[in-house]
């Protein structure tokens, strides 16, 4: 076979995906679209369970709503890896997943509630107060609408004033976890949502309004994000017109940032070293282990270009792993293994937390003197640090991930 033909055959062999018009860009859009769509689908499911809870408050409907909340976290936590290279998403996400929160902004709290020092909103208790007096101003909060909730989010410039999003809903479904580093999550009674004389802790009608409005807001925020990834949306356009190398840059940057600073740092090392349950991610529900695991899985999805949707379907396409393997096989393999270890070590958190006989949740793992728990969390942190180093090595080998990339700003 003449040389040029041989070359041609090779190109054909390796470029089936090219023929279908697939590249890093299309995979990126496919994965992001699917994971945000799944987040929306599961948020709508959560919404219907919350409607059922409000229609007929009972231990059963409350428990079903909690399950739906846990399920809604599955795709959302996998979506977070898209956040860091995209300021458009980063600016949006605070309304959905901000934490830790000063929950006294929203509802009643225990007497030994600790909030951010100097936070004016920390004890406003919107649910208990139809009129809110603050610094000589009077805020009309008679109707708890999505707009009212939005106006209190990051109130007075404090990030601890989280009025909306998954963790606000989590607080309303579970209540404060008053067990510290002991076993147990929040124990809000279903009667907190009952309208008759059985209403516990007062202001049940307003609490119901809040829960309904904050869930509506979550769904509409996710609808907006889904639209942005569809043809004609700004993020769809951004990733359609970017060079493939810029997409690779974006992937490297986002995985690196979530891996090291956010997941290993803010979400694990801070609570572990300070032994601080205040810094636990899903602190009301004790769902933190799952959130960490799905964060790690989301990073792996993006690297391998594959995502398993909540209905079981697989979507994907040419990946950074494919792109890199041809250029830097060794560094790519190293990173692939490192990412497997990260998933494995966060899975170990899940295994310990979901243990049938002696479960150890994340807030127990970080207790002072819990060596076994500390080792579990440290292993996950170390794996994420190693993953970041492997990623940096790969980026360096490929000449990617530099500060000058358009993806990082």
């Amino acid at each position: 076979m003449p040389v040029f033909l041989r070359f041609f055959a090779l190109v054909l062999l390796f470029s089936a995906s090219l023929v279908r018009g697939e590249n890093l860009n299309t995979t990126y859009i496919t994965l992001a679209s699917a994971v945000y769509e799944d987040s929306l689908i599961s948020a709508r499911d959560l919404q219907s369970h919350i409607d059922a809870l409000l229609a007929q408050p009972s231990p059963k409907t409350l428990s079903a709503a909690r399950d739906a909340w846990r399920k809604a976290r599955v795709p959302y936590q996998q979506s977070e890896t898209f956040r860091f290279a995209n300021p458009e998403i980063d600016d949006w996400e605070g309304a959905l997943n901000a934490w830790p929160l000063d929950e006294g902004l929203i509802d009643y709290v225990s007497d030994d509630y600790f909030h951010e020092m100097g936070n004016l909103g920390a004890q406003l208790n919107i649910i208990a107060n139809p009129t809110i007096q603050l610094a000589g101003q009077e805020i009309d909060a008679r109707e708890i609408s999505p707009e009212l909730i939005q106006s209190f989010h990051e109130f007075a410039g404090s990030e601890a004033n989280v009025a909306s999003g998954y963790h606000a809903i989590e607080f309303l479904l579970w209540g404060q976890d008053l067990n510290g580093t002991q076993a147990g999550a929040g124990e809000r009674p279903y009667t907190d949502f009952v309208v008759d004389d059985n209403c516990s802790n007062g202001h049940c009608e307003r609490r119901r309004q809040y829960l309904k409005a904050v869930t509506t807001l979550l769904v509409s925020d996710l609808e907006a994000m889904v639209a942005r990834w569809q043809a004609g949306g700004d993020l769809h356009k951004k990733y359609s017109t970017m060079s493939e190398e810029a997409v690779a840059n974006s992937i490297v940057f986002s995985i690196g940032s979530l891996s090291l600073g956010e997941l290993a740092g803010e979400r694990m090392k801070v609570p572990l070293e300070a032994n601080s349950t205040e810094d636990e991610h899903d602190c009301f529900s004790d769902n933190t282990h799952w959130s960490h695991y799905y964060n790690a899985l989301g990073m792996q999805n993006l690297f391998t270009g594959q995502y398993q949707r909540i209905n079981g379907d697989s979507v994907g396409g040419p990946s950074l792993a494919d792109f890199a393997r041809k250029r830097a096989p060794e560094a790519t393999e190293h990173l692939r293994r490192a990412m497997n270890v990260s998933v494995e070590k966060t899975q170990a958190l899940v295994k310990a937390a979901e243990h049938k006989i002696k479960p150890m949740k994340f807030d127990q793992m970080i207790a002072e003197g819990n060596r076994e728990g500390r080792a579990l969390v440290m292993n996950a942190i170390d794996a994420l640090v190693a993953q970041t180093t492997a990623l940096e090595d790969l980026a360096r080998t490929l000449g990617l991930g530099s500060e000058n990339s358009d993806a990082s700003h």
Binding site: P100, F114, H115, E116, M117, G118, N119, L120, E154, A156, G157, S158, A160, F253, G256, S257, S259, L260, G261, K269, E273, A274, N275, S276, E278, E368, G369, T388, L391, E392, A395, R396, G399, G401, S402, E403, N404, S408, H409
Partner: protein, 368 residues
């Protein structure tokens, strides 16, 4: 600056460089000269200072707590020793590579920002707890109560009155254990860097294919640039923007670095001096000289000027940041400082790495 001073300045700079050149064998490549000079003129002396001040604080705390009765004057004198040790720490706070990364040393020294006042809560629990208040017990506890931050709470917050009263022994025991722990950390860091100890300096200064941390000179110089970026970011975002609400929102002075002792302004001043020292190696063969050697004299001089401007802006702030950040008289200095930090960050994140052909890691790329 008058013409005469400028001349003197230039002269001393040239002569110092020559003297250094003479001592350190000028035959070396400028990259190697940078690593040598930055180590001997900045990293080692800064760690020596922190060690000396921590040692003095530890000795003074031990003597303070051994007294049968303690006076307000004794407390004031001990606070001065704490400030000196804290200043020593601020000198090395930005240095984010080397022994400090080993087992989280920095957090043992300082826990900040402490949004929910964990320091007070955990200190009180520790002091009233059943366990004896000893150094090993402290080291097994949360990092938030182990170092300068907990000592600041004990010396400047509610426990301060107890320390000089009849029933302050528990607090003093904690203070004493924290001072000893601080000294151990300072010792660990110093020993970790020093050529007579574990000699991480040698690792940093000898890049090469067999060096796992620094396979080439760019990796070693990159670590230095990243550390300067980290230090500048922390000042800009964590020490100014967030606590003072400089980009929207309200000021929350509880987020300032040393709000209890009102030393936050001083800390920034020390940070900037030490960052400038890391940049210039005390007018030896620092990054500034390497940029010149690569033909980027203008960039090199611009950065020097920006450091000077930032330092004079923070130095000219009247009073403490805690009390006076919102005063009209300070608005211009704060604005200048903030804008200059933005310029410095742009230089260290983009212009300097691209001039030197260095790619920074994710830490340095984060949070623009």
């Amino acid at each position: 600056m008058t013409g005469k001073n400028a001349m003197t300045h230039t002269f001393s700079r040239v002569s110092l460089s020559l003297a250094f050149c003479f001592l350190a064998a000028c035959g070396k490549a400028p990259e190697q000269q940078l690593l040598d000079a930055t180590g001997s003129e900045a990293i080692l002396p800064l760690h020596e200072k922190f060690l000396a001040e921590s040692l003095s604080l530890s000795q003074n705390t031990s003597a303070f707590c051994a007294q049968n009765s303690r006076s307000a004057e004794d407390l004031a004198a001990l606070r001065d020793r704490w400030v000196a040790a804290m200043n020593g720490w601020e000198g090395i706070q930005s240095i984010q590579f080397g022994p400090v990364t080993d087992d989280n040393q920095a957090w043992k020294v300082q826990f900040w920002p402490d949004r929910k006042n964990l320091i007070a809560r955990k200190t009180e629990q520790f002091v009233i707890g059943d366990e004896a208040i000893t150094l090993p017990a402290l080291q097994d506890s949360s990092v938030v109560i182990q170092g300068l931050s907990a000592m600041e709470y004990l010396l400047y917050d509610k426990p301060a009155a107890k320390l000089i009263g009849p029933d302050g022994q528990g607090y003093c025991d904690h203070l004493n254990a924290a001072a000893s722990n601080l000294q151990q950390v300072a010792d660990f860091l110093h020993e970790g860097w020093h050529p007579s100890g574990k000699n991480y300096l040698g690792t940093w200064q000898s890049p090469g294919p067999d060096n796992l941390d620094y396979p080439d000179e760019n990796a070693a110089i990159g670590a230095l640039i990243e550390t300067i970026v980290y230090g500048l970011e922390r000042i800009k975002r964590d020490k100014l923007q967030r606590p003072l609400g400089l980009e929207g929102g309200q000021a929350n002075t509880f987020l300032l670095e040393w709000w209890r002792s009102q030393q936050s302004r001083e800390a920034i001043l020390i940070n900037l001096h030490s960052l400038q020292l890391l940049y210039s190696a005390g007018n030896g063969a620092g990054l500034n000289e390497l940029l010149q050697a690569r033909g980027a004299t203008e960039l090199s001089d611009t950065v020097t000027t920006q450091f000077d401007r930032a330092i004079s802006a923070i130095a000219s702030l009247e009073g403490s940041l805690e009390q006076n950040h919102a005063k009209a008289a300070n608005a211009e200095s704060l604005e200048t400082l903030y804008a200059t930090l933005t310029d410095l960050l742009a230089a260290f994140k983009r212009e300097i790495p691209s001039t030197l052909g260095i790619t920074l890691g994710f830490n340095a790329n984060d949070g623009d």
